[in-house]
Symmetry: D2
Subunit: 353 residues, 4 copies
Amino acid sequence: MYFTSDNAVGAAPEILDAIIAANAGALPSYGAEPMMAAVEATIAGIFETDCRVFLVSTGTAANALALASLSPPWGAVFCHRFAHIEVDECGAPEFFGGGLKLALLDGAEGKIDPSGLRDALRATGAGGVHQVQPAVLSLTNVTEAGALYSADELSVLAAMARDAGCAVHLDGTRFANALVAADASPADMSWRAGVDVLCLGATKNGALAAEAVIFFNPQRQADRIAEFEYRRKRGGHLISKSRMLSSQMAAYLKDDLWLSLARRANSAATRLADGLRAIDGVAIENSVDANMLFVHLPVAVHRALLAEGARYYLEPPSQTDDGDGHRVRVRLVASFSTTESEIDAFLAIASGA
Amino acid sequence: MYFTSDNAVGAAPEILDAIIAANAGALPSYGAEPMMAAVEATIAGIFETDCRVFLVSTGTAANALALASLSPPWGAVFCHRFAHIEVDECGAPEFFGGGLKLALLDGAEGKIDPSGLRDALRATGAGGVHQVQPAVLSLTNVTEAGALYSADELSVLAAMARDAGCAVHLDGTRFANALVAADASPADMSWRAGVDVLCLGATKNGALAAEAVIFFNPQRQADRIAEFEYRRKRGGHLISKSRMLSSQMAAYLKDDLWLSLARRANSAATRLADGLRAIDGVAIENSVDANMLFVHLPVAVHRALLAEGARYYLEPPSQTDDGDGHRVRVRLVASFSTTESEIDAFLAIASGA
Amino acid sequence: MYFTSDNAVGAAPEILDAIIAANAGALPSYGAEPMMAAVEATIAGIFETDCRVFLVSTGTAANALALASLSPPWGAVFCHRFAHIEVDECGAPEFFGGGLKLALLDGAEGKIDPSGLRDALRATGAGGVHQVQPAVLSLTNVTEAGALYSADELSVLAAMARDAGCAVHLDGTRFANALVAADASPADMSWRAGVDVLCLGATKNGALAAEAVIFFNPQRQADRIAEFEYRRKRGGHLISKSRMLSSQMAAYLKDDLWLSLARRANSAATRLADGLRAIDGVAIENSVDANMLFVHLPVAVHRALLAEGARYYLEPPSQTDDGDGHRVRVRLVASFSTTESEIDAFLAIASGA
Amino acid sequence: MYFTSDNAVGAAPEILDAIIAANAGALPSYGAEPMMAAVEATIAGIFETDCRVFLVSTGTAANALALASLSPPWGAVFCHRFAHIEVDECGAPEFFGGGLKLALLDGAEGKIDPSGLRDALRATGAGGVHQVQPAVLSLTNVTEAGALYSADELSVLAAMARDAGCAVHLDGTRFANALVAADASPADMSWRAGVDVLCLGATKNGALAAEAVIFFNPQRQADRIAEFEYRRKRGGHLISKSRMLSSQMAAYLKDDLWLSLARRANSAATRLADGLRAIDGVAIENSVDANMLFVHLPVAVHRALLAEGARYYLEPPSQTDDGDGHRVRVRLVASFSTTESEIDAFLAIASGA
């Protein structure tokens, strides 16, 4: 009953097998192995467009390197105040970006409110050289609050950003979960909606450690792409035995594995939500678009779950287990490996408490 | 009728004379001139405590260098969202600080609301290594919105910060204006209230280009002080003919010149405010604690003033001269050199329009 | 016949098996898995001293993060001009170190000449705040030119550095190869010789992607260690499914696997060297202390080897395959997986040409 | 008898007068004062070409900001190992340049040896993404060792650099001294020789604190120029009362004052050299092209001079006043304000000792 995060389990078997299969023999290093070119071609096919792809081993590296390529040091990166780049990367974007600034926006369930973005784009940098300048809009789909942007919603925000001269970055740590939730195509949920660079996560959805940074429209982004390679190397993120990354990504995308894994995670979350809704005193805060739930649990339920070995994170303001004295606020994340029996056991404890 | 800023005029005559007087002869460079030691001793006397003092030529340099000495690159610097370090320094703190993060707080008239600070201190960095850590509280007195913190108000905020392990920085661009407004001692308005480092402005109050960075309690801050010297040099802010700076600062502080100049500026603002309050349709937004007014002017008044040569800045949301169609929001700043006749001329135009 | 680098092959079977074995089940992430604590304890045992250990996935990350923890931005890091940190990391030390400076030293076979170090330590920073200050001595063992420092040689250099107030960093990408070549203990070749931080490589000696940063004397280095964790996170080098790293390192060190693998690589290099010495017109430039050879090959031999599928790098000044018209200068690197038959095939071609 | 540096005295009277004259009245700030546009036009006239000009208050700021605009963080800046940017700026280029690397070259009297540059340009970055890439050639004229590059010598080096895709920066701290020594035109000694950005010093030649960063061919360098403005601001180098800088530079260039001042300094150095050559046991090391001498003084002479109040710097290896036991190596710098009687007094002591 491990619901802390979708990174608490290891790799999906197909991906582990791919690492094993790729291990034999001598190969060019540093991304020059043939499998890397194949991954790039696969991604171009899936996204129905030309692109350049780089692999790294963490989402923080993917996001920070991408943003550094999209923004000058005096740029403002607009993002939701819940965004991973703001909350969970210990300032990696500022570090890789030479001291750039994150400009925080509001909106329900981690989705940026368009009118807030409009105001921010207008106000930022209006003082000329005295101020940082609008540079990037960074979106996250699925959001950190578990909600889904539709392709149309992404398009509206991206269009505003582009009108203001900004590039558009999409933190797609849970991009596969978003795709299956939206039942939309990868292209519609990324470049057709105005995204310049997608950080396509795999680690949280079945890989061991692999993320793809995808530059769409590579001709137009040639300078950024050239920069990216140097930034990745000097960031220590150019893996020598790079087959370790390309083999994972190849398996992840093969035969729609990524979508199957995400579908499992999302379904598990739905099952969990359905069960929790039936329990007296439990309230689910979000709409459970994908694989995350934000839930208010009666303290007694929470204690029973902990006692039986369930694991999940308390969310602010519940820094301690007594929250407001009656209920605690918790985050539950389902993954590709969450089983029905695990969920049912969890629900049994919760309803029994 | 130049009310754009207190940096629109040159130096006060006493300060210009000091630059001239210091020009003759050969002297050690880079701060080793005898006058620099004298300035440090003078400041120690005025502030009634031991301290280390460094001079630089801009307020942005003073603030950014100070913050870099107080915060690690993974630190959060808490400041009001109107703070100069956030709004007007093009990311200098992030640049000098190796990618640190400004954490923005709210509060009326540019003064940080204590309960907001309390919440922010508690929430920031709670996620451990994934998050930037509380490092500095940066206050501004007089605030960018023209308001005054009392010594007690400063103490309350500083105490919260220190309890959370933060250093306290005071942007004192208009520190002299604050002192005369509060009728308080330099010590009470700085280190006795909990300030570790004061950036004491002179440029906006009669100097040509001179700011002092004052480290109180130098024994305790020995490491920061040692760092500061290297940071200043590699920031290009160690002036070779450093008499240029020390002569200004010496004159600025001599015979309470700094207080006299600030008193003139504050009085001019009061006179201006009194006059404007009497004009129909004009509304003053702030309490005019010091030398700045935020004023809503009827468009007709605004146009008449512009036509007669008055100069000042429009403030958001008045990016154009028609604001909401009826009134524009403007900032008026009085300086040591603002004359009564200048004010009266301004008022005459305004009341005639 | 792949002699390009010891990173051209995949993982040793024991290490791959460990990754597979560690894949099952839910675990704490980000280095909190129990296996990470075990790795730290194992390393403490092997090195006969208390230490703190952090794992990352590349040698460039290990070195650059370590140096950033040991040097301020205004520090000089003394290293050989052939050092990996100077030649092969695209400025990673300067990037992570906030703009620190590498100060280059000379010496035969990549080993720093002590008298050169003495002079450099004396001269550097003598101009006070105008100059970067001595901060770190960075050594590499086995050197990039394939030579071995003895424990005594390390001690002499490290003592000079410490007398000048510098920390000592050891790039141990090929530390295991050095150990077996020197037949010395890990402790003697590191902290007993004066090393503060060892970057212990595994990737080039049988791991897939794993390097350990080892801080000796952790009480004395508590501040650096605390910093390191933030630097690693904001560098994007804190792997979520960290079992990926700890499982590799555990297997690497278990039952002296690391030494066995290095012994194989060194032996292979010896066999290769012995065979090449017998071939007319071939000259080996270095003393082949470990697993690297720098060899001058007649052009005809070089062409025959290429034609038969041998792979290795040309070294400056041989940017093209005709070098000085008669011989080319090449680097040959043996790895744990180099076989006797591979070597013998290579030698047969070379002697037949 | 102050021969420590050409920054030991204050401003030339004409420049001090200009500061005074510019002090009156309200003006736009931050470089928007009319005098700044006039300075730019004057410089365009003197250099016979279109250009963009920015003023800052220190040479370190000018150099570091210029280099940051010319090089990416993964760039190599080629310079002589005696260059101010390497020896005397405490890593400012690395700081402003986001961790760029200075690649050091040799050559007599601080002048880069062309064959050394050719080799370095060929070798640097040949390893692709693993290495920093050739970005800038930084020249200094007059060199830090007091020697003059002719226009032809500059052209040869600049052409090599441009062929390798590098920009060319000229540290012109003593550019006026070079001009009068070479009897060449400003254009021939800068852009016609291939210089992209000239840092034109004034501080060491009669200003109080003013340096111009001149971008030639502004159309081609439009991106760099746009960047420069943000870099200057966030570096804290955009002076609010910018008349302080523009008035100095205007006076400096008016009626060839800069050339007159430099001529005085160079003549004083010649007189000093002529006198010293006649003294037994004194040896002048350099050719005294401009205003600097590197001299070996018998210890007795040195002690007599010190005792009589002469001031100058000991140069390595003479860290103490007994050098090799017989002679000390010293640097003597003449300035615009050095008088004949000062020189004659110095010579009288030296010859009497």
